[in-house]
């Protein structure tokens, strides 16, 4: 898979999605009948970003940094503790489940695991047809099946597979079914939650190409949550880096990979192995000291300060805000 910058597509400036100071804290409860919260896991703790129409924003970070929770909050699968999620001018946090329903058509999701994201008791055709039926997009059963076959074909599957059950398909095929289901409601915005990380490398390339094709064909906007940085570089226009529930850096894709500013981003990028052993041996590695702190009791000030090579006294007390160091390049660090 070659690492190339995405073609400068028609990325318009107006944000489709605005996330403002998003927080999601999961309570840790104690007690049998009367449960009281003894602590909170701060999975996402004050994240803000915009996604423009037609853009693909990559969201990267190590396991447990809150990137999946951010996606689930946007989908309203988990209700955020605090903050605003404004989709096309509507704040999703204000809506109850009934009012959310029409908006769910426009925001869809592709899950990581193609094995558990399809109901094993339903045929492929029914899995894709069900959202169309529930939202009343195509009341006629015959036309609905035509639409299902069309979606399967668009996703590179044989339309005959509508009669199959998920267990009769391979992982790559099942992931395509997941994509077809996401497309069935004609969404504007798709959250790809580690959509390719469960697939092997050759299938990954196929699915990524499919996602790129669909983006152009249907004017889709993606939030691409991943930990594989080479995939992110290939697919995304802009990249956001998260660490321990906070956003540490946000920049255009090439800018972030060529000129990372935040010490965490620099360490993350230096962890990408280089295929050439000579270069790999010669190049400078930045290995972070210590472990990721617990999100239950994060460090005061900048959450990265205990592991940061640049940390100074002020980092232990002041929480750094994202600031624009270059046009379009935002870093949450006082020392760069």
């Amino acid at each position: 898979m070659s690492v190339a910058a995405p073609a400068e597509a028609q990325v318009s400036a107006a944000p489709l999605l605005q996330v403002r100071n998003l927080k999601k804290h999961f309570p840790i409860t104690e007690g049998i009948l009367i449960q009281k919260a003894v602590a909170h896991v701060k999975a996402v703790d004050g994240v803000s970003f915009d996604i423009r129409r037609g853009e693909t924003l990559g969201l990267v970070g190590e396991s447990g940094c809150g990137k999946t929770t951010t996606g689930r909050c946007i989908l309203q699968l988990d209700r955020p503790t605090e903050g605003e999620i404004v989709f096309d001018g509507i704040n999703l946090n204000d809506l109850d489940s009934r009012a959310l329903s029409p908006l769910r058509q426009r925001i869809q999701v592709i899950f990581q695991d193609p094995y558990s994201s399809l109901n094993p008791r339903m045929k492929i055709g029914d899995i894709i047809a069900e959202p169309i039926y529930v939202h009343g997009l195509e009341p006629d059963a015959q036309k609905r099946m035509d639409r299902v076959r069309e979606l399967l074909a668009v996703c590179g599957l044989n339309p005959k597979m509508a009669d199959r059950y998920p267990h009769e398909m391979s992982g790559g095929q099942r992931q395509r079914v997941g994509i077809a289901r996401a497309l069935s409601l004609n969404p504007d915005f798709i959250i790809c939650d580690e959509a390719v990380s469960a697939l092997d490398v050759s299938i990954q390339a196929q699915v990524i190409n499919l996602l790129e094709e669909l983006r152009e064909k249907f004017d889709l906007t993606y939030l691409f949550i991943a930990h594989d940085l080479s995939v992110v570089r290939h697919l995304c226009h802009r990249v956001a880096v998260m660490y321990l529930g906070r956003m540490v850096e946000l920049a255009d894709c090439d800018e972030l990979f060529d000129n990372p500013q935040h010490p965490y981003t620099q360490a993350l990028l230096s962890a990408i192995p280089v295929p050439d052993p000579d270069i790999e041996r010669a190049r400078e590695h930045r290995v972070l000291k210590g472990e990721v702190p617990s999100p239950i009791n994060p460090p005061s000030g900048c959450v990265f300060n205990p592991r940061c090579p640049l940390a100074v006294e002020g980092c232990r007390s002041d929480i750094p805000e994202l600031r624009e160091v270059k046009p379009g390049h935002w870093v949450a660090c006082t020392e760069v």
Partner: protein, 299 residues
């Protein structure tokens, strides 16, 4: 961009080919002889119950005071009871009562338990907490005591017997189903259904219920045997089916107390019928559990 346009999977037509059913049947008998025996007896009882009016040699309710307490013989294979009624005919018609009560009570009880258990797991929170504590109260009573209480309130009769047996089944099934449903709720296809904006009832009935069918079917088959036993117990205690309806527990009551020494066949044959039926349903239920539990399934 041509990579993704390759049609995937056209080559796997007719991947699943099924063997003809006599082969499957022989295979099952060889691998699960006890389960097959149970299934065979279950089918035998169902056939007897279905064709009772054809098979039974006498009218099960016709008294014949000139032939009371007749020992088993050529004319009456299983003998006659204290009213001169043919025991074999009564046993055959009794199978009808037993299976009807057993199937209806087990089906209604476990199905209500299924819906309650899945709903409890799906909604969680306070709803789950309150519902489970109510279930705890019901489960604190032994099955027979609970059934006795219901009959005491509603009165006897076949309909009330079914209700009395159904009610204590509900929490037992709900508890087992709930634990499976709790794990199903966390699987991403439920998230996918929620992200598509499906309603609660659709998610519960179409996405969760079909995926907890294994524990449901196991409970269902186990309950049939238990329900037959409960019905016999209630009838024996005089709180169940009333004379002259032929029912195994009732026959046992009539025979065991007064004629245990002089005419033991009056008690022996209904007892054997109850034992055989419950034993068969339990064997069958065990085989169903083994077949549906992937951990026990042989390769």
């Amino acid at each position: 961009m041509t990579v993704s346009q390759i049609e995937v999977g056209a080559e796997v037509e007719d991947l699943v080919q099924r063997a003809p059913w006599p082969v499957l049947l022989m295979d099952m008998i060889r691998r699960k002889p006890l389960g097959a025996a149970g299934a065979f007896i279950v089918v035998f009882f169902i056939l007897i119950a279905a064709f009772a009016n054809v098979i039974a040699p006498y009218d099960p309710t016709a008294n014949a005071f000139d032939r009371m307490h007749m020992a088993p013989g050529a004319e009456h294979w299983f003998g006659t009871d204290q009213f001169g009624r043919d025991l074999m005919s009564r046993l055959i018609y009794g199978a009808r009562t037993a299976l009807f009560v057993g199937f209806v009570a087990a089906f209604v009880g476990s199905t209500l338990g299924l819906v309650l258990g899945v709903a409890s797991a799906y909604f969680g929170g306070l709803f789950d907490l309150v519902l489970q504590r109510i279930m705890d109260v019901f489960m604190a009573f032994p099955l027979i005591i609970m059934a006795l209480a219901v009959v005491a309130i509603l009165g006897s009769g076949i309909q009330n017997v079914i209700i009395a047996i159904t009610i204590p089944f509900i929490p037992h099934c709900a508890r087992v189903v709930r634990s499976s449903a709790l794990s199903v709720r966390e699987i991403p296809y439920i998230d996918a259904a929620r992200a598509c904006g499906f309603g609660h009832s659709r998610i519960i009935l179409r996405h969760m219920v079909p995926n907890v069918m294994a524990p449901y079917l196991i409970m269902l088959t186990a309950f049939v045997g238990q329900a037959i036993l409960l019905e016999a117990s209630l009838s024996y205690l005089g709180l169940g089916v009333q004379e002259p309806t032929p029912a195994w527990g009732l026959m046992l009551q009539g025979g065991a107390e007064e004629y245990a020494e002089s005419a033991p066949w009056i008690a022996i044959f209904p007892g054997l019928a109850i034992t055989l039926a419950v034993f068969a349903f339990n064997l069958f239920g065990d085989a169903v559990r083994d077949a549906l539990d992937p951990k026990l399934r042989s390769q």
